[in-house]
Symmetry: C2
Subunit: 604 residues, 2 copies
């Protein structure tokens, strides 16, 4: 599959964009005309630079408002087009995107449009140029790819074909199966874009909210399969208008874009081997659970105190590194004081258990995810480590056959056996933060690279703005990672680790006896809980005396409490009763307000 990307997807100057695309591994680019116009490189210089970078110039775009016009306007449009063909000759580009007329069409006739495209094809032939005619979703008369194809058939000119763009087809709800009726040799170009489900006018949606494949809600795997079945073998290109990508560094965005094409190819090959052939990427594999969470700080003593209060046991010091291990039930927390000069406690790593680490590692690596170096001594277990878009490292560990603890635990010495009766089970969820720039890429990483399910987007009010939240999780719920996007200003980055319990009140009771200071929950909250859920007074008093919060839905109940923040982390203990599957979202504003009060009191 030849990969390509439109320069409009990225920020920066045309030179910067070209370098970023080459670096990320794209085979070619689409030259977006305004990028050319604003560049001080001549077309010849751009061509030479692309050659040096090993990039093909696949498409010149867009040419607007051509067909369905009066004869007089047609003449002017042909002159406009010829000037572009001359620039294309200088650039060495042989295909131009012609979008269906939005502004100047006055003749709603396939025959007229076809005849006009035929004249354009004649003109283009003289320059060796091919016309890729595309139906814009908001074209005045031509807004359906099937109609564009009919017009191309009527034009019946070797230099006139069609361009398919997933956004224009799927945003209108048009059935992409009809693509298979198109002659693959007449599909002159293919553009892919994903998008979130939004109900807004299709033009704004298109111009500001497109996403790379796999980051939105379109079924692009099925779409690509339809196109491949036509025999199309041209570039698979990305055209993604997005306000965020326009602002973020072009290098990062290009890597993200390239990975999205690879994961799409993988998904398409798995689901539609008849169309795409077998995947070249190793199989997806669901992790068996969260192995450990790593917290890094110059001084981890406050974290250790909290873990002890919660019922964790100290399991030992690493043989060779300034790393300590605590555990409770199946939850292991690694405290790392290396490379952490001046750092407050923060979440620095997440270990996932895999039945077949090697295949998982090969898959992640094949999908362009950068590896992280990890110094190792002889006799230590190898834990492959990768960078994540949101910050902490991802480690892959072998799930021990028949349960029990993974082998690397034996590298820790001078510790104690796990405490009995901790009432703690395993990691319930790890609540992480991604910035607004990296959020979609993060969700894509867990979704398309690791195969997690993506939940809906929620919003929670904090005193400093709305927190957007989205959960990625394995299908069986063993691994759950809610990701928060904080408001632009004010909010301190805080992540937290939630542990399951079969008796959250007992855990809270023990923690209090051991001196833990809980996150204070206001009395008004308990008045509200009593009223909202019609609970009896004694039960509410019990919750209140333990500072335990409550939620209920149609399927069950949820009890949970929070520790205070230690640097940028805190802990939560949760008890799920019945089929409750949420995270106590209604309680999150209460937590955020309480944390904010503590910050204000501390003058933070």
């Amino acid at each position: 599959m030849r990969t390509s990307i439109a320069t409009v997807c990225l920020s920066g100057s045309l030179e910067e964009k070209m370098s970023a695309c080459a670096q990320a591994g794209f085979d070619g680019i689409e030259v977006f005309e305004p990028d050319l116009v604003a560049s001080d490189l001549t077309p010849e210089e751009i061509r030479a630079r692309a050659e040096r970078l090993g990039l093909t110039l696949d498409l010149y775009q867009p040419f607007r408002d051509f067909e369905g016009v009066t004869e007089e306007l047609l003449e002017a449009n042909l002159r406009r087009a010829e000037a572009r063909f001359q620039v294309m000759a200088r650039l060495g580009i042989d295909t131009i995107l012609v979008c269906s007329n939005v502004a100047t069409a006055t003749i709603d006739s396939d025959d007229v449009s076809a005849a006009q495209l035929r004249r354009l094809g004649d003109l283009a032939a003289g320059y060796g140029v091919r016309i890729a005619f595309e139906a814009l979703a908001w074209g005045r008369y031509v807004s359906d790819y099937r109609r564009a194809w009919r017009i191309v058939q009527l034009a019946d000119h070797p230099n006139v074909g069609t361009c398919l763009d997933s956004f224009h087809i799927l945003s209108r709800g048009h059935d992409p199966a009809g693509i298979e009726e198109i002659d693959g040799a007449k599909i002159f170009f293919l553009q892919l874009a994903d998008a979130p489900e939004l109900s807004m006018d299709v033009l704004s949606w298109s111009r500001h909210h497109r996403l790379f494949p796999g980051e939105g809600e379109f079924d692009l795997g099925a779409f690509l399969a339809h196109v491949l079945r036509t025999g199309y073998d041209g570039p698979v290109s990305l055209e993604v208008f997005n306000d965020t990508f326009r602002q973020t560094a072009s290098g990062t965005t290009a890597v993200q874009a390239h990975r999205s094409l690879f994961t799409l190819a993988d998904e398409t090959a798995r689901r539609f081997p008849d169309a795409a052939g077998p995947s070249t990427v190793p199989d997806l594999q669901e992790p068996a659970g969260v192995d450990f969470v790593e917290i890094q700080a110059e001084d981890t003593r406050d974290v250790e105190e909290a873990l002890e209060q919660l019922g964790f046991s100290f399991r030992g010091q690493h043989r060779t590194k300034r790393v300590r291990l605590w555990s409770a039930g199946g939850a292991r927390i690694v405290l790392n004081e290396q490379y952490a000069r001046g750092d407050e406690p923060h979440l620095s790593g997440l270990g996932l258990l895999y039945g077949d680490v090697e295949t998982a590692e090969q898959r992640i690596s094949a999908l362009d995810v950068p590896r992280m170096p990890r110094p190792m001594q002889a006799g230590e277990q190898r834990l492959p480590a990768f960078a994540t878009p949101h910050g902490p490292q991802l480690f892959l560990a072998e799930a021990p056959a028949g349960g029990g603890e993974p082998g690397w635990v034996e590298e820790f010495e001078h510790g104690f056996a796990p405490e009995d009766g901790s009432h703690l089970g395993a990691f319930d969820h790890v609540n992480l933060v991604s910035s607004w720039e990296t959020h979609d890429e993060t969700v894509h990483f867990y979704g398309s690279v690791l195969g997690f399910e993506k939940g809906p987007v929620n919003q929670v009010a904090s005193p400093h703005g709305l927190v957007r939240s989205r959960v990625v999780r394995t299908a069986d719920g063993t691994v759950r990672l809610p990701f928060n996007v904080l408001p632009a200003v004010h909010e301190q980055k805080t992540e937290h680790v939630a542990l399951t319990s079969d008796n959250v009140l007992a855990v809270a009771h023990r923690a209090r006896k051991r001196g833990m200071r809980f996150l204070p929950v206001p009395a008004n909250y308990y008045d509200d809980v009593r009223a909202r859920f019609d609970l009896d007074d004694r039960y509410v008093d019990l919750l209140r005396s333990h500072q335990v919060l409550y939620d209920r839905d149609g399927r069950g109940e949820f009890l949970h409490f929070y520790t205070r923040r230690i640097g940028g982390v805190f802990f939560e203990v949760v008890e799920r009763i019945g089929g409750y599957d949420g995270y106590g979202a209604d309680n999150a504003p209460v937590r955020l307000a309480a944390q904010s009060r503590l910050d204000d009191a501390a003058g933070r």
Copy 2:
């Protein structure tokens, strides 16, 4: 008019919100239940604090999903309600907002809903509470205020009335004239919110994009007049859910909110004196033009050099201040080196000419706009100065009768007479920057306080993201102020002053001879202009040799050039031919890319 505001409009803790509202001059507040629940103040403490601040607690809100339910659910809902009535008694609030049922209604019957509200009314009466029933725009059965009113009539209970919310009525396109058929004594509450025109689902629109009155597109003056004609004399309250206000300092937002109610009252009084009585605010008055632009810097020599190259004349040094005046045609630029230690040149003030300065000053002052102190010596002309939401100060100057220069020019000495044949006329526009936090307030300031017209929102691509742009201008176009909102990251704040010319090529020619270095325009731009507008080669060469840009629309042509940036300002000279009324928006990306190249070259 008693003013009120829902606490959900503001950021921060409930205490912070209350203080901000009192400070801004609100008479009362609506207590948003989640703010209460998350607060560690008891209801009694909140009540006492409100009393001390001089705020009334006008409304408890919201109570959801009450009516149209089965008998069993009704019982539970009545228990839920009673718990709230108890909290309200502690708070001393006598009115509760009951929103039409969204989630649990199963009975679509006005009679059933009315009977259920009547039972709620009986229960409420025992606590001295009034029920204000409101149709949510997305209510399951009740989504129209006329239906909510019908149900209230059927309920026929002294403690059951209706609440009107402009958003829920106008967002659905319902005719607000029907409000006049409601008995004013049965309107228990009034909430106002404006909103931009957006085509998105009404729930998202409501939850994230509401605006204060005058900042959006709703006709709230007419809406308020309908309500006042019913005899309603309760609070006029703001309920504005907005992602920006949730993040910005509550003090600033509260002042902005309060001003929006005052300007709305003024507008309503002017347009509908039968309903609102006469306005208490002095009349609106259109300015006669831009008097001067002030640029401040520690060292203004680079700006003076550019002004001289453009054809400006040095008009003198101020008698007592480190301020110098340059002019060309009717354009005066004041260079201020006072209080500017370490500052790069930046736009610091804007003077507007008024026929009646005193009335204009009284109006602006009456609308809560903060005055700026301005030291004055004896014999100097008084120029009232105000703070603007976007930064630079606004000065008001007396428009000289019969044209000519304003009196304050005589305070400058040792200058020269204006140069003849400058080909410069006056200020065409002053292009300003507002932050995303202050943009809506800025547009409201020029619109509702000063009476400018608000243009549509445009977007321009820069190498670092999209620049949002909106023009405010006087009806006759004498004062035009385009406001840009820069992308969140990277873009340097740059404002510019555009001057009219009757011969932009001559001005460019002279400037070049005097040594000006223009903003370089790439050759590709001229190839594109030639093709796009079908211009002849010699004309394009002429433009190119002067680095002059070109635009054309159905009404005329536009020629313009830019100087390089000097600190945070630059100059533009424009020539409007025929009826061209735009700003060369298609050329803005070319300018932004060229500026970005210069920045990169300079290592900025």
